[in-house]
């Protein structure tokens, strides 16, 4: 560690002599800065200045820079300054720091906060447009890839598609079943609790059936898939982009859309309807179980009521929506993944954006479908 550094002062013949003693190294950084600042204040009313280095035990860039700064500030104020008794092996280091910090680095200019606010607003508006363009570009790129695949079916990446189907479909089954089952239980319980007050217990079955088959089954599953698989797609593609893997593919004459994106999106489009179906069944089962245990409605009555309450149309409405939800999730996840830039922060940002945006779009799409089905009387 070395001895504590000190800086003693002595005046001889109009010259202020500083004697630096001890170890002027980073280990004593805190003390050194205070020492040198105090010395700079003392030096204000002398003409000449010298720094005696003969007693310095250790010196590193921090110490050297502090001394250099002291000298530099003094000579700026018109004083004669010099080093005395400088050991040879420190000369190189002092020469080195003598060269640096000659020009102040450009500081980012300060901006009016009102203008900054307006700029953020404006950029936000432009970003919406950029988002839309990116989304449409991805739709176009996928359409072209699909068209090409239809012309040359042999180029279709079956292995990759099956692998992704396994990941986003099969591996997601347990958690999807569990969550939709619980949602079914909750709806049923709440239904009995409130409907019982005005003797409408029997209509709980209608509510559970219609709600689950038309809306909740597919919506909950889509949101789950967006969070589970959409984020994974974005993060995977993003880190491939960061490590130049996507550029490597392109230079080998392969189309990343065809190799990477299409199998992922197709896997999602196949998996989501299946998951939505399984999820709906699990929710109905949960509803039935609660109706039996909590509402006192036997399963056979529940099923009979269900048969009266719902038609195949309700089921169709739910299932028709599923592939479109999958498409939206897939397109958003892939396009966000390809927008990742070099930094780890941008990977995180894009993954978050991907999940938030796809959940938002899934809900908007659900609303659009609700209007559409209502107007065609389904």
């Amino acid at each position: 560690m070395g001895a504590e550094p000190t800086l003693s002062t002595r005046i001889n013949d109009e010259e202020l002599e500083f004697t630096a003693i001890g170890s002027w190294t980073t280990a004593h950084a805190d003390a050194l800065e205070l020492l040198v600042d105090a010395a700079a204040a003392q030096a204000s009313d002398v003409r000449n200045m010298a720094i005696n280095m003969a007693m310095v035990g250790e010196l590193d860039t921090l110490g050297a820079w502090l001394l250099e700064r002291l000298l530099r500030n003094s000579s700026k104020q018109g004083r004669q300054v010099r080093f005395v008794g400088l050991p040879d092996h420190y000369r190189g280091l002092l020469d080195e720091v003598h060269r640096v910090n000659r020009q102040a680095p450009a500081l980012p200019e300060k901006k009016n906060s009102l203008l900054v606010g307006l700029e953020i607003l404006g950029r936000g508006a432009v970003d919406v447009k950029v988002d839309l363009v990116v989304f449409l570009e991805m739709v176009a790129a996928l359409s072209i890839a699909i068209a090409r695949m239809l012309i040359h079916p042999r180029n279709f990446r079956l292995t990759s598609t099956v692998y992704h189907l396994y990941r986003v479909g099969w591996q997601a089954v347990p958690i999807i079943l569990l969550i939709t089952f619980l949602i079914g239980c909750i709806i049923s319980q709440q239904g009995f609790f409130h409907f019982r007050k005005f003797g409408a217990d029997a209509y709980v079955v209608d509510m559970v059936g219609i709600l689950v088959l038309r809306e909740l089954g597919v919506l909950i599953v889509s949101i789950m898939v967006a969070g589970r698989s959409g984020s994974a797609y974005t993060a995977e593609l993003g880190s491939m982009k960061m490590r130049e893997e996507i550029d490597a593919l392109r230079t080998m004459g392969l189309d990343p859309v065809e190799v990477l994106l299409l199998p992922r999106v197709i896997a999602l489009v196949i998996a989501l309807p299946v998951l939505a179906f399984l999820g709906s069944m699990a929710a109905l089962y949960g509803g039935e179980l609660v109706a039996w245990l909590y509402g006192g409605m036997s399963p056979s009555i529940f099923i009979a009521r269900l048969r009266e309450a719902i038609s195949v149309t309700h089921f169709e409405v739910g299932m028709i929506k599923a592939p479109f939800m999958a498409l939206v999730i897939g397109i958003v996840a892939c396009s966000e993944g390809l927008r990742v830039k070099g930094s780890a922060e941008s990977l995180g940002l894009r993954t978050t954006t991907s999940v938030v945006k796809s959940i938002f779009l899934v809900i908007v799409l659900d609303g659009v479908f609700a209007i559409f089905f209502a107007s065609i009387g389904m």
Binding site: D30, H89, Y90, P105, E345
Partner: protein
């Protein structure tokens, strides 16, 4: 403390490191003296980086002892181990800059975490270190993603030097640099080593660096150090790998060129 231990910056004894069944370092011993530049060479995939990473504690060892600055990191208290980490600087092969911080913030990071300095002084020191490694102060506000490979290396060196370490670990510092930049880099390392009394442990393949920079060279082959010493000793070695490395076509061209 006896003088021999005091002279050694790094002492590695009987080190055994492997992954699964594969043994990478097989009872390896190596000393690095204080204030010297030691160059470590060896075949690609031969365990040079593994040795470096084991010394700095990133890879667990199966057996053996490693002492850095006379301290065994296995038995050291957490606090002492952290103090040792402040006394070494590491330049990773890919730079390993923090991608969410600017160049200047990257260099300031170790200072900010370990010292209590004013912001103004930290700015000046960061700029000083950057200029010493040849980065213009105006590039200080850039992010690592905006830098070229050579600039990344230099910024990473500036960060490794941020706390004025006593030991500098360099993992292939000049790979990916043009010969002029690599030469500057060598000179810089040499200057720093002379002025700061730095100990440098350098993994390298750059024959130029080995000739001009290194006080001693250690050759790693078959998981062991087969020869260690000044360049003349290494050149005189009979080990077949060492022979083909230093007397291959590329090495002969360099040897003939006036230095």
């Amino acid at each position: 403390m006896d003088s021999s231990a005091d002279e050694m910056a790094i002492r590695v004894r009987d080190l055994l490191v492997g992954f699964g069944d594969q043994i990478v370092l097989d009872h390896l011993s190596l000393d690095v003296r204080r204030g010297e530049i030691l160059g470590l060479v060896g075949a690609s995939g031969g365990g040079k980086s593994v040795l470096l990473r084991t010394i700095i504690g990133l890879i667990p060892k199966q057996r053996g002892r490693i002492e850095v600055m006379g301290m065994d990191l296995d038995t050291a208290e957490r606090w002492d181990a952290r103090a040792i980490a402040r006394r070494w600087g590491i330049l990773f092969q890919q730079g390993a800059l923090f991608s969410s911080l600017t160049v200047r913030q990257n260099v300031q990071f170790p200072m900010r975490e370990n010292l209590h300095l004013s912001d103004a002084l930290m700015d000046e020191l960061a700029t000083a270190k950057l200029e010493m490694v040849g980065i213009s102060p105006n590039d200080g506000n850039k992010f690592p993603a905006e830098l070229s490979g050579g600039m990344t290396k230099r910024v990473a060196l500036a960060r490794a030097l941020a706390l004025d370490p006593e030991i500098l670990f360099l993992d292939e510092p000049t790979s990916g640099l043009d010969p002029i930049a690599a030469g500057d880099f060598d000179t810089l390392i040499k200057t720093l080593q002379q002025t700061l009394g730095l100990t440098v442990f350098m993994v390298t393949h750059d024959l130029d660096s080995l000739h001009t920079d290194c006080d001693r060279i250690a050759v790693l082959a078959d998981g062991k150090i087969v020869v260690v010493g000044p360049i003349a000793t290494v050149l005189a070695s009979d080990h077949p790998w060492v022979k083909s490395y230093f007397q291959g076509k590329r090495a002969r061209v360099l040897a003939r060129a006036p230095n």
